[in-house]
């Protein structure tokens, strides 16, 4: 039986959810096997695992999904990667530089070809918003150009 990539990903997500629930139940049980600790986790986790198994069987029996209804994975994954890069780099390059770079890279990869616009918008937005938040928040933010006590 040949399964499409979409169907495989759908089933993989279900498996990942089941694994997470199984792990969380085990972790809570290992921590303290008392009624007070497991009063919600045990029944909800067990019921959800049963539902996951039922959904798995239903999904396998179901006809293939219509790929036209879904957005392309190829379109969304690069955005997730850029966004992840932005967030994970904040510790090192700060919000001011990070936000400016994130917006500039996003614009360039998504059809904006005018460099002067990319630079103008990303620098203005990135620096103004980061500076505004760094001044407004009661705790230090990681910044490069406008250093705080972070």
């Amino acid at each position: 039986m040949g399964l499409s990539l979409n169907k495989l990903l759908d089933l993989a997500l279900l498996m990942a959810i089941s694994l997470f629930i199984g792990w969380y139940f085990y972790d809570a049980y290992r921590e303290l096997a008392s009624v007070e600790n497991l009063i919600l986790i045990a029944p909800v986790a067990s019921l959800t695992l049963v539902l996951c198994a039922a959904e798995f069987i239903r999904n396998l029996r179901e006809k293939e999904l219509n790929p036209k209804k879904m957005e392309s994975i190829r379109d969304s994954i690069p955005v997730m990667v850029i966004f992840a890069g932005y967030i994970l780099s904040l510790e090192y390059i700060g919000f001011d530089v990070g936000t400016t770079l994130f917006i500039a890279i996003f614009l360039r990869l998504h059809g904006e070809l005018r460099w002067q616009w990319i630079i103008l918008y990303s620098v203005l937005f990135g620096l103004i918003m980061s500076y505004f938040f760094s001044q407004m928040l009661p705790y230090p933010m990681p910044m490069s150009l406008f250093p705080t006590d972070y």
Partner: protein
């Protein structure tokens, strides 16, 4: 019963004093309405998204100001969503889907100004009527909910989650899974007994997952990942011409359909009050009911003004309905009230009968502020329509990274460390997968918000009952909620089976 017994006049007078003795309270309403209008009018950006992104700003406000700001966003957004629905057949939010059915055909006939006026009038009437009813009923409601104990609360939470699941139609199982996963995620961290669960050794997770950044990721960022290939929302020049005189004509026209206005508002309140449903469904039900009861149902979908009135009055009055559930029970009716619940928690406030009883003046002040918001909405709505109509020309490649960056900055503002932005990232990816494979994102978010409350309600029930299961049968309200929950869970399946059976017998007879 004397209707005046329903109102606590001393608290009402305290509420008026509270609102007008501190004029700064009103300063947050204007930006709130404008943000709501802007987000509502931008397709792909939801009202709940706006509320989640701007919630960090409420850290600097007192509780009343925070509520005024968030309800103003809701009020603005409920009208803003109708603007692109009318002008371009693209509902700005899920609560304006039915507005497009007749609003867009009106725009095609060159009556977009009248349709915008109709939408504005119906929205303002919905907000006013809904909050008036809430003002009348909140006191008896608080007395009624006093009979609700931890067991009833637990069943209400479960009922809310099963309701969301039952709305998923063919994906009910996935809806339930999402809700229950949310419940479990909500219990991560230390419990009441001091046991640490699921923290994976991270000190950031000891107090649980930061819910608001998670909500930003699930609601806002995951949706933006999906819109990445959308270039422009609309470029047609003709949709930009906005005439005030014609809008005012449409505004007056709405009041020629008082039955449609009243029915839409009532439907909005009732549906809005049911946990997990809200304005996304109420506009459709109101539209369908108006069409069903009309002398000329065939005119709907071709530019009938009643269609716009029915949809907009229902989605706007839903705010009052969901606010009733939030205030009386501490349970959010939908995405927007889920954000409000998080704001409650940020200000150390727990919604519920005790809150209504002890802080009736604050509750009344929130309601009265919504009366004021109605008039501000008319004014700001009229002034901002020319701008709102042009939002749809903004390229998405500028909008998406700007909103994502704002969410990141806002999440840092909430947690004070990078745990906030990382939570946004993780839940944006989870939310993207959930949306793609038909798991209920609102179900997961509401589950996450209520996880801790569900656990402590169940624990208190266990302690009160001494572990006896028969205790359920001694609590008629709990039993009633349990039955309602089972009905809402199994009725869609039974109705579907019955229809299949009817269709089969019809074929056999033929």
């Amino acid at each position: 019963m004397n209707p005046f017994d329903l109102i606590d006049f001393a608290s009402a007078s305290g509420a008026i004093h509270m609102l007008f003795s501190v004029p700064q309270n009103w300063l947050v309403v204007i930006p709130g309405i404008l943000i709501g209008l802007l987000f509502g009018a931008t397709p792909g950006l939801q009202i709940s998204m706006a509320m989640a992104i701007f919630m960090p700003m409420t850290l600097y406000m007192d509780f009343l100001q925070a509520m005024l700001f968030l309800t103003a966003i809701f009020t603005g957004g409920s009208f803003g969503g109708g603007v692109p629905a009318i002008l371009m057949n693209i509902p700005g939010t899920s609560s304006a889907i039915a507005t497009a059915f007749d609003g867009y055909p009106m725009a095609q006939q060159g009556k977009h100004n009248e349709a915008l006026g109709l939408a504005l009038a119906a929205s303002t009437f919905g907000v006013l009527f809904g909050h008036l009813l809430l003002f009348m009923l909140i006191k008896p409601l608080s007395t009624m909910v006093l009979k609700i104990g931890p067991q009833e609360m637990f069943f209400i939470i479960l009922w809310g989650i099963t309701l969301i699941a039952s709305l998923r139609g063919d994906h009910m199982l996935k809806g339930l899974i999402a809700g229950f996963v949310g419940l479990l995620l909500g219990t991560i961290g230390f419990n009441e007994e001091g046991t640490l669960r699921g923290a994976m050794g991270s000190e950031y997770l000891m107090d649980g997952i930061p819910v608001v950044p998670a909500m930003m990721g699930m609601f806002a960022a995951s949706e933006l990942f999906r819109l990445v290939k959308t270039d422009y929302l609309h470029e047609d020049e003709s949709v930009r011409h906005v005439r005030l005189s014609k809008i005012m004509h449409g505004f007056r026209l709405a009041f020629k359909y008082p039955v449609v206005l009243m029915r839409g508002s009532m439907i909005g309140i009732i549906i809005g009050a049911i946990p997990g449903i809200g304005s996304s469904v109420s506009n459709l039900i109101s539209y369908m009911e108006t069409k069903r009861g009309d002398k000329d149902p065939s005119s709907f979908g071709k530019g009938n003004p009643k269609g716009v009135v029915a949809s907009e009055s229902a989605n706007s009055s839903s705010e009052a309905g969901s606010l009733a559930t939030l205030l009386a029970l501490g349970i959010p009716g939908g995405g927007a009230t889920a954000v409000m619940l998080a704001a409650f928690a940020m200000h150390n406030i727990t919604g519920g009968p005790q809150f209504i009883r002890e802080q009736t003046d604050v509750v009344y002040a929130i309601i009265f502020a919504n009366f004021g918001q109605v008039f501000l909405l008319i004014l700001l709505g009229l002034l901002s329509l020319p701008v709102l109509a042009s939002i749809v020309k903004i390229r998405m490649n500028y909008l998406i990274p700007s909103v994502l960056a704002l969410a990141t900055l806002g999440a840092f503002g909430l947690t004070g460390n990078l745990a906030g932005p990382i939570t946004v990232l993780v839940f944006a990816i989870v939310g993207w997968f959930f949306r793609r494979y038909d798991y209920s994102v609102p179900g997961a978010v509401i589950g996450m918000l209520l996880g801790r409350m569900a656990e402590s309600s169940l624990l208190h029930t266990y302690q009160i009952s001494g572990g006896k299961l028969s205790y359920i049968f001694e609590r008629p309200i709990a039993l009633g909620i349990l039955i309602l929950m089972l009905v809402s869970l199994f009725s869609p399946i039974l109705i579907k089976k019955f229809k299949e059976y009817r269709a089969k017998s019809d074929v056999l007879k033929a």
